[in-house]
């Protein structure tokens, strides 16, 4: 089983080339804008903007929707709740405590659109930015905290190694599970206690192997000259170029437009 972690989708695109910091800040601005938006006009502008960005990422739309799939249930239920239990507006249909109001429908639609835009919009960040760049972006943005003693580089390194090993360990767990099944462990049935007990033959080998991996990885890192932050450079120069600045300005303008629309319309 191949798992794409962080669902990073590595292709060439203007969005992929953007600096991770710009994208992180950009997503913040975007999310703020979506929360500020209220009327149909604002959402229309936001939606158009979102789809232009998605088009620019060169990532198949399918990938964006798959991220949305997991949240579909939540979005569906919030929509239902809003439709049937809204108290405002003119009643259109009524049965017992259930009633549908025009405002209810509007709220439901607004909420659905808002969640959709939020999920799809923030997917742009994870799909176009490698976990390494993402952690570097965070590291760089959080750098001021280093002055007060927060080990920003170490935390970022730990996160990126964790991300790197998720698929490896998932695969390993799958293997161990099969191996123990071949020794007669039944993972499918049994009561709660039985199932809890069955975790031991899974977790002990997984822990032991993780320790071994950690040990070997530490050695490999050391042999490749790793000694923390000290004297370290980066392959990718994280200087903001014209494109990055332009993207930043576009995001600010987007937020301002939404705010103005909210106030003026």
């Amino acid at each position: 089983m191949k798992i794409t972690i962080g669902r990073h989708y590595p292709v060439e695109s203007p969005i992929h080339r953007l600096d991770a910091r710009v994208k992180i800040v950009g997503v913040f601005l975007y999310v703020t804008a979506i929360f500020i938006a209220k009327g149909a006009a604002e959402y229309a502008v936001a939606a158009i903007f979102t789809f232009i960005v998605i088009y620019m990422t060169n990532v198949p739309v399918k990938m964006f929707l798959s991220g949305f799939k997991n949240l579909a249930v939540i979005i569906f239920f919030t929509a239902i709740l809003n439709i049937f239990f809204s108290n405002e507006g003119n009643v259109i249909w009524k049965a017992g405590i259930l009633k549908i109001t025009d405002m209810g429908i509007v709220t439901a639609i607004r909420l659905t659109v808002r969640l959709l835009l939020l999920v799809i919009g923030s997917s742009v960040l994870t799909l176009t930015t490698s976990p390494m760049e993402l952690t570097y972006g965070l590291e760089s943005l959080l750098k001021p905290l280093k002055k007060v003693g927060v080990p920003v580089h170490e935390i970022a390194m730990m996160i990126s190694i964790a991300i790197r090993f998720i698929p490896t360990l998932t695969e390993e767990l799958e293997k161990i599970k099969k191996a123990q099944s071949a020794r007669g462990v039944d993972f499918e049935s049994g009561n709660f206690m039985q199932r809890a007990k069955n975790f031991i033959p899974l977790l002990v080998p997984l822990f032991i192997s993780s320790f071994r991996r950690a040990d070997e990885l530490a050695m490999a890192m050391e042999s490749r000259g790793y000694r923390g932050d000290e004297g370290r450079t980066r392959m990718k120069k994280y200087l903001l170029n014209v494109q990055d600045k332009r993207a930043g300005i576009i995001m600010v303008v987007f937020l301002v437009i939404i705010i103005l629309m909210r106030i003026l319309i």
Partner: protein, 574 residues
């Protein structure tokens, strides 16, 4: 000239509990010249990995060690040494740091504080030299083992080292991956004149080096040209090592009084020597009598198909209409490339995964009907020692029986039997499985399946990653199970030589289909067929083909070391 210069090197690992600590390095004197290609052989625990780690200053030994003119003992030199000596480890997964190939290659130079523009150039250079440029944006977890190891080499190359030390880089790879890595190493040596120290368990890889060092008990036991070192076959066997097949044949012939060079390692050379000695006009080759396999079909697959992740983007047909019959007492060799569907097939045979269509019958009964039947089909995974978890060997082996609900007496009896089958006596019962050697761990893992008293044993690469002596021991255990316990065995292996030696019947998988199913003589005796299926031809079969082309009537059974020696003894002019 001298790149690594070590005098009186000693090293001892810390003492754990009551374990006696021995010298991992015991007064070693070693000199390695700039641009040399040195292979290091030795059984597990001989100290070769420890020695390798000293070259990279990961371990600082006692004694005088100078690397690239730098004293390894001085702490300020450590980073300079790591810059000039790069190290590649055994497990490809445990040395890749980044989630994108090019970022991983950049990790080393980034640590060295190289300027960004320069890193970009170096990464490009490194990936090009290992042939991985097109994967520069890929995720390492989506690559094959051989590709991952090449990435690891690229990560070292980007540091522009003068020497690369590789610690069993091919041990966990399939034949294709192994070839990729070896070709990369040889190319680097040839084109960049990098000093290479290659630690390996594979004799054919060691034979490619310019110089061969053999380690034993923390000391250097042999040091010389590979040909010369291997020629001393008796000594090598004493050191628990193998020699290349051709060297072994030459040794045996010499012992029988034939006048033949001892330092032969290649097939072509061997054929020339043999033709020089000359073949008799007429000779007899007595075929080995085959034990008659009973007709009783024990396991049968009917129109078996399996589709991975059906109805998704990753959909892939892993098995396509497989019909196999396995008879009682047979030893079947299951071969094919990684991804050919053989692992999937073994897991379906054991009922671990359900086929998309078709069924598996054990003695005529569908195995999906009853869990008890599935217990009769034992499956031992690759690297089974990774499943160990109990506090002692006894409990580890008893685990399966406890799951089956056996009573105390029965458990005792059967655990004893199972451990005896892998040559482990009572002295092991109380030991922790984690304190055992690699080979012992594997034997415990095999016993933990045997204890269920399966009627068929399916083994997936039972000897992967072991040293030659341990490899032989495990193979002997398996053959014993077949002969003495009457076990039906299905063995998945990448080693054509092993399969050729011990299997009765061979099944070749290719792209999810059975590409061949029949007597081993009909496939190993036919190199054309082997090539068409993309399989490695055993060395002895290669020799037989060269001789056939020279007009010698070599019987088709001659493709194992045993039969080759037997044939040559009868056919050569004394």
């Amino acid at each position: 000239m001298c790149f690594i210069d070590g005098k009186n090197l000693c090293y001892k690992y810390g003492v754990y509990g009551d374990e006696k600590s021995t010298n991992a390095l015991n007064d070693i004197n070693i000199k390695i010249n700039r641009g040399e290609f040195v292979a290091v052989l030795g059984h597990n625990g001989s100290g070769k990995s420890t020695l390798a780690k000293t070259f990279n200053a990961l371990i600082i030994p006692e004694g005088d060690l100078v690397i690239n003119g730098l004293d390894a003992e001085k702490e300020e030199n450590i980073w300079e040494i790591r810059k000039s000596v790069g190290m590649v480890f055994q497990n490809p997964d445990n040395q890749i740091i980044a989630s994108v190939v090019e970022e991983d290659a950049a990790f080393g130079p980034e640590n060295l504080g190289v300027k960004p523009e320069e890193i970009v150039k170096r990464v490009e250079f490194a990936l090009e030299n290992v042939g991985m440029t097109e994967y520069r944006l890929s995720e390492p977890s989506h690559l094959s083992g051989g590709q991952k190891q090449r990435i690891a080499i690229a990560g070292i190359l980007a540091m522009m080292p003068e020497c690369i030390v590789l610690d069993e880089p091919t041990a966990m790879l399939d034949p294709i991956g192994r070839r990729e890595v070896m070709q990369t190493i040889e190319k680097l040596k040839r084109e960049k004149n990098i000093t290479v120290v290659l630690i390996t368990h594979f004799m054919d890889e060691a034979a490619k080096a310019e110089r061969l060092i053999v380690m034993n008990e923390g000391k250097i036991a042999e040091d010389g040209k590979p040909k010369d070192v291997f020629a001393d076959v008796r000594k090598m066997k004493e050191l628990r090592l193998d020699v290349p097949y051709m060297t072994e044949i030459a040794y045996e012939l010499k012992n029988c009084g034939f006048n033949i060079k001892e330092d032969i390692s290649e097939c072509g050379e061997m054929a020339e020597e043999l033709l020089k000695i000359g073949f008799k006009e007429k000779f007899v080759f007595e075929k080995e009598k085959k034990e008659k396999v009973r007709d009783e079909v024990i396991l049968k697959t009917e129109n078996l198909s399996y589709i991975y992740e059906e109805n998704s983007v990753f959909e892939k047909k892993a098995l396509d209409n497989i019909n196999i019959e396995i008879r009682k007492g047979e030893f079947i060799g299951l071969i094919g490339h990684t991804g050919s569907g053989k692992s999937t097939l073994t897991q379906i045979m054991n009922g671990l995964i359900k086929p998309s269509s078709g069924r598996v019958l054990f003695k005529g009964r569908d195995i999906s009907d009853d869990k008890k039947i599935r217990m009769k089909i034992g499956l031992i995974f690759q690297y089974p020692e990774y499943q160990l978890f109990e506090i002692n060997v006894f409990d580890e082996v008893a685990f399966a029986l406890k799951n089956m609900g056996a009573d105390e007496e029965e458990i005792k009896e059967r655990v004893k039997e199972a451990l005896a089958a892998v040559d482990m006596g009572e002295e092991y019962y109380e030991k922790s499985p984690f304190g055992l050697s690699g080979g012992e761990k594997r034997r415990v893992a095999i016993a933990s399946i045997l204890v269920m008293q399966p009627e068929i044993l399916i083994l997936d690469e039972p000897t992967a990653g072991l040293d030659p002596k341990t490899r032989d021991d495990i193979m002997k255990n398996i053959v014993k199970m077949k002969n003495e316990m009457g076990m039906t065995v299905v063995m998945v292996s990448h080693s054509m030589e092993d399969i050729a030696e011990i299997a009765d019947r061979v099944i070749v998988m290719k792209n999810g289909k059975t590409a061949y199913d029949g007597e081993k003589e009909d496939i190993f005796g036919d190199n054309e067929k082997m090539k068409n299926m993309g399989l490695d031809i055993p060395k002895c079969a290669m020799l037989a083909e060269i001789l056939r082309n020279k007009g010698i009537d070599v019987p088709k059974e001659v493709f194992t070391v045993k039969n080759t020696i037997k044939f040559l003894k009868g056919a050569l002019v004394k």
